[in-house]
């Protein structure tokens, strides 16, 4: 009897111990998670409460001092670059380890390892795009060509790994505890992969949609609704710029037999609308102090932990400060004692698609001219949490991976498309940033940029010596007109890219007469640029507002530049609304509700400030009217893109009777006015519902900007309903989920004055007081002091740690 009692008790105890150590469905093991000594409770401590005067970091040649300012921004003082990047890896991992690893897991198509079979299709997509393949080539490039950068990248990885090895169970980031896995070692490959991931985030193409449109609308209509250049082109490089080089010749084939299929395949995910950026620099001639001022605000998905992590990196030879990407070496957007630089996305249809004709079902060869070329197979093994690995065979051609084939996203068994993308070529972006961090002048900036391939960026520069410059840098293929705008025939060698535009012929400008340089993702150049330039995603509003303001302003101060980054002027509304009100006429004036909205719209100053109500009304009205106008596009039944806002407004304004407005199915002939009226009615209806349900329809309350944790299901780790203005197509590009992910303003005088802020916090730990503490500052358009610090500076020090 006693034995039975004991064994029952023992069995219950063991069963209990096992039960609380095992995941129960999505619930992580309870005891390790709730144990106050090791579980999530330990993540309640903020970094300053865990501060140590000294930490061990092996392989340093001399001790490294890390001074944290009151915002937990580390200022790393090392004796040489190898020590510096080792310490950068260590310190970054200390605050952002989970995020660094999660982002590269996503880039490698390894999310299924963490979350299970739900992510298999996502991982297949990522791998089929060849990001991992590109990163392997990038690593090979470093191994063969650049031992110096390779050594620094390895030092960075070693710093990260020493931190991982020292990590006590309690200090493991809380996301690992909840998702029940542990960090693995960092590698140079992962740093390269991260930069490839940025390309993926920023680069899209609409070749599929344009192929369909060309077949449905015909070339003439396509050119009319989707012109390569807008009428009000205000390009990145000023229109009056003269090109002082002899361009390489590009031979256009005599006849161009584009494949002529209607294609029903799922397009690759595109960069979110609203992904973009602003940067500019004004020369001393336009500023109050006589010093150049530079500003940069990249717009990306608003996430926690933030994509950016601020740092100062110093050796006896240079001191650089700004925004880093956790996982990559150096500062990406920032300044040093001599130059400041910033980036905006400069996409130029970097991805092209080739239709592949396989010899047979074996897919071992494909037609190319008169021959059959052999393919190679790459087997992607996707590990899946709780299940057997998933094996995906991807066929590679000389163009690149065959993304779409009979096993993936294609409804037709005979349709195979290979992706050609500069990301699949060995490149050395990391060198660009390491050289830029140490750059002293315009020449150094150019030398640094010569190493840069993708994702193409508009690099702005301001130097202490007074130069301002802009260069659109990337590895751009030489294309004949319309090459790559549509899907191409991979069997026809005439569709091949004919080489690349030489770096020195990439569009650039230095100290233009107008006294400023700027970019906001618009068309890079005037049509006079001798190479073919095309992308569907060019911006039409932020650029014009920015340039108009920069032309007007004089005696500029850093405060003016901050105000311009936070500028809420809604140019699209300013151009569209008067036209829409005109087309609406007086037909709704007798309805009190409609009249109320109309009056609010009519008295609007076109600023999308958070407390304004008219932006909400306009936004919905435009949205409904736009949908109404292009509704027939969605009835084509294949993926297409609709004409952009700018072209749509022009049609409404200039040719309101255009046949394009007619709805084929009805007996009457519709005009622009009909669509605008239907849109208005739909807006009144939507607003009525909103007012009944939510009450207040001021812009911030309607827009509901949120900064979301990288795992969307972790909603309590997100910050929602942020009171702030702006929106898509507005300089302050803060929409629901996108916006200025980093704002920086730097004045390059004898004493450098720098300001920066981003919507997040230095800590990646949701339990830390430094996790989201910048968000209210950012939402108000305020900034943190980002001046360079010396090691001895004792003002505003949170704590200091010596690594040795």
């Amino acid at each position: 009897m006693k034995y039975i009692g004991f064994f029952i008790a023992l069995a219950i105890t063991v069963a209990l111990a096992i039960a609380v150590s095992m995941p129960l469905g999505p619930v992580p093991p309870l005891a390790p998670l709730l144990d106050p000594n090791h579980g999530f409770w330990q993540n309640s401590y903020s970094e300053d409460e865990l501060a140590k005067d000294e930490l061990e970091l092996s392989n340093l040649t001399s001790p490294v001092t890390v001074v944290y300012d009151e915002n937990l921004i580390p200022h790393i003082f090392a004796e040489n670059e190898e020590d510096l990047y080792r310490a950068q890896g260590y310190v970054t991992a200390k605050h952002r380890l989970w995020q660094m690893e999660f982002q590269t897991m996503a880039a490698a198509g390894r999310i299924s390892e963490i979350v299970g079979p739900i992510a298999i299709e996502l991982d297949r997509m990522t791998r089929r795009k060849g990001l991992g393949y590109g990163a392997e080539l990038g690593l090979k490039y470093l191994q063969e060509n650049d031992p110096e950068i390779l050594k620094l990248a390895e030092a960075y990885a070693d710093g990260v790994n020493q931190y991982i090895d020292q990590l006590s169970p309690g200090q493991v980031p809380v996301e690992y505890k909840i998702l029940n896995y542990r960090p693995e070692h960092w590698t140079t490959y992962k740093s390269i992969l991260l930069l490839k991931y940025m390309s993926d985030m920023l680069v899209g193409d609409r070749d599929l949609e344009y192929s369909n449109l060309r077949k449905i609308l015909g070339q003439e209509m396509l050119d009319k609704l989707y012109p390569d250049f807008p009428v009000d082109n205000d390009p990145v490089i000023e229109s009056e710029h003269l090109w002082d080089f002899t361009p390489l010749s590009v031979t256009k084939p005599d006849s161009i037999p584009f494949p002529n299929d209607l294609l029903v395949i799922d397009p690759l995910p595109q960069p979110e609308e609203g992904t973009g950026s602003n940067n500019w620099a004004v020369s001393g001639s336009k500023t109050k102090s006589g010093n150049p001022i530079l500003a940069n605000d990249p717009h990306l998905s608003l996430n926690l932990p933030s994509l950016w992590y601020s740092m100062q990196l110093s050796t006896p030879n240079h001191s650089v400060k700004g925004a880093t990407l956790p996982g990559a070496l150096g500062v990406i957007s920032g300044f040093n004692e001599n130059i400041a630089w910033g980036v905006t996305n400069a996409t130029k249809d970097a991805r092209d698609w080739y239709k592949i004709t396989f010899q047979d079902n074996q897919r071992k060869a494909y037609r190319y001219g008169d021959e059959w070329r052999p393919t190679t197979f790459r087997i992607e093994e996707i590990k899946v949490k709780g299940e057997n690995p998933y094996l995906d065979t991807v066929v590679y051609t000389h163009y690149g991976p065959v993304v779409y084939d009979r096993t993936f996203k294609s409804e037709r068994q005979d349709v195979n498309f290979a992706l050609k993308w500069t990301v699949h070529e060995g490149s050395n972006e990391q060198r660009t940033f390491i050289m830029m961090n140490k750059g002293k002048n315009h020449e150094d900036y150019n030398k640094a940029l010569d190493n840069y391939s993708a994702p193409a960026q508009n690099f702005v520069l301001a130097s202490k010596s007074g130069d301002i410059a802009m260069r659109i840098q990337g590895k751009f293929p030489l294309k004949w007109k319309e090459q790559g705008k549509f899907f191409m025939d991979g069997a026809d060698p005439r569709f091949e890219w004919q080489g690349y535009i030489p770096n020195e012929q990439n569009a650039s400008t230095l100290n233009p007469e107008r006294g400023f340089v700027s970019s906001a993702n618009q068309h890079p150049v005037d049509p006079s640029y001798p190479y073919y330039v095309f992308d569907n995603s060019y911006e039409h509003y932020r650029n014009r507002r920015l340039n108009n303001r920069l032309r007007e302003l004089s005696d500029i101060t850093t405060d003016d530049m901050k105000a311009l980054q936070f500028d809420d002027y809604y140019l699209h509304a300013a151009e569209a609304l008067p036209v829409m009100i005109g087309l609406l006429g007086t037909s709704f004036d007798s309805y009190p509700q409609a009249k109320k909205y109309l009056d609010e719209l009519k008295s609007w100053d076109f600023f999308a400030d958070p407390n304004q109500k008219a932006p909400t009304l306009f936004y919905i009205w435009w949205d409904k009217a736009y949908d109404q106008i292009w509704k027939k596009w969605s009835e084509f039944g294949v993926p297409v893109v609709e004409p952009n806002n700018y072209q749509t407004v022009r049609l409404l304004q200039i040719t309101p009777q255009d046949p394009v407005f007619d709805v084929d199915k009805t007996d009457v002939i519709e005009t622009a006015s009909d669509h605008v009226k239907i849109g208005f009615q739909a807006m009144v209806k939507a607003m009525k519902e909103w007012e009944e349900k939510e009450g207040d329809y001021s812009w911030a309350n309607y827009k509901r900007t949120s900064v979301q944790h990288l795992v969307p299901q972790f909603a309590p780790f997100s910050v929602t309903n942020i009171y702030t203005g702006g929106g898509r197509g507005i300089l302050n590009a803060t929409s629901e989920r996108h916006g200025a992910s980093w704002r920086m303003v730097v004045e390059m005088g004898d004493e450098i004055k720098a300001f920066g802020v981003y919507p997040g916090g230095q800590s990646g730990n949701p339990g830390s007081k430094f996790y989201s503490n910048f968000i209210p500052i950012w939402a108000n358009g305020e900034y943190l002091n980002f001046n360079l610090r010396s090691k001895e500076d004792s003002e505003g020090v949170l704590f200091q740690t010596i690594l040795k």
Binding site: K2, F6, P32, S44
Partner: protein, 123 residues
């Protein structure tokens, strides 16, 4: 008296050993101590449970109060349990059961050895 003493000993073990060892090591230590001190089954159960539960409760409350972090609330919401106080309670309850069954098993283990010699002599 031994009951109170055992509770205090368990609290001490959790506070001083738990930071260095996972929870199941603490369970074994509680079981062995319970056997050593020779508490009755019910005493071992309650003392082990109260000791472990109170220690975790105290630690959770201490961390929460001293850091002022919002993490317990966020975790409560994430786990669908509402506020941080529910998480504090859950932590204490899990601690209680881990401790109580360890204590019970320990005292029953001692019972086995106490009776064993009797049987031998009789046989």
């Amino acid at each position: 008296m031994r009951f109170i003493l055992f509770i205090l000993v368990v609290i001490g073990i959790v506070v001083f050993l738990n930071p260095f060892f996972p929870f199941w090591v603490i369970m074994i230590v509680i079981g062995l101590l319970s056997a050593l001190l020779g508490l009755s089954g019910i005493q071992g159960f309650l003392a082990g449970g109260l000791g472990y539960g109170l220690a975790w409760l105290g630690q959770a409350l201490f961390i929460s109060a001293s850091t002022g972090s919002d993490l317990p609330n966020r975790m409560g919401e994430l786990m669908g349990l509402g506020s941080g106080m529910t998480i504090v309670g859950l932590t204490a309850i899990i601690g209680f059961f881990l401790g109580s069954f360890s204590g019970l098993t320990g005292s029953l283990l001692r019972n086995l050895f106490r009776k064993k010699p009797d049987n031998l002599y009789r046989g």
